[in-house]
Amino acid sequence: MGIERHLNDTVHVTNLEWFVNWARKSSMWPLGFGLACCALEMIATVVSRYDMSRFGMEVFRPSPRQADLMIVSGTASKKMIPAIRRIYEQMAEPRWVIAMGACACTGGIYKNYAVVQGIDRHLPVDVYIPGCPPRPEALLDGIFQLHAKVMKEQSIKNPRSFPIKAAT
């Protein structure tokens, strides 16, 4: 039955760092955090046609305390930034950020006074996904890129920590 069949009653050796990374990437819980039209594609990624739960991410958490990944999906207005930063600060480490869509990456079509010109002005972004909006496949691809990145992390020797910059 299942995985036990392959273990053959013996001792297995693995690299602890690899194991931690593998556990992290295989159950990365995203935060339900939609800001604009891109959020609809993020929602479409979860429903059965694309089914993000195949990759251990079916639970979109309503609370930042339980989430590992913030998918900034959409246009971040300047008035929203204090709230976004606070939510990011409330997430437990290690935490990752995906900037989804042209707006989150660069401000997109909104080159104006009210929109933040790229969420990376405030958050440490791990993966950028271009598109307006990116299709669910693109979001999944971005998540795979993030998984690959997590697998390369030195989670024991050099754990990641990205405290947010204080407001200036």
Partner: protein, 176 residues
Amino acid sequence: MDQESIKDRLVSKFGDEVVQSAVLFRDQMAVTVPKDLILDVCRFLKEDPELSFDFLSFVGGVDWYPKEPRFEVVYQLYSITYGHRFRIKTKVEMAEDGRGHIDSVVPIWPTANWHERETSEMFGITFLNHPDPRKLLLPDTWNVYPLRKDFPLEGTEEDTPDLPRATHAAPDQPSE
């Protein structure tokens, strides 16, 4: 009631001076009335049994820079009782303090509340006797009027910062 008759009824109540200009465009009349009369005109339009404009669809502003008077406030009215529409405009000049001033119509149509708050923050027009004169959409710390013609679209670091300046963000911290 058609647009001309609505205008005539307005004139029969307030006299000829109330209509500064009347433009008929695609069967819709836009009547410009004097600013001082706006409250009386609106109350009449709502309470007159034959007009009965019981629904205020929208209040917005226009910046006619560099014309004088600079601003215009537009009221779109609808009568649920009779199904007719009407449009009232009024010109508002920029006062010494860099803002326009006009009476609020919230006492007549409570729905004007948020519309006037938005017009106020976007154009810098003060609605006198407004019950809740806060900003609606913009961050509270901004002192600019983004929908004015002379406002730079992209804003500036000083006027429209991403985050409130530290002095605003932490008033309890000692400043150096």
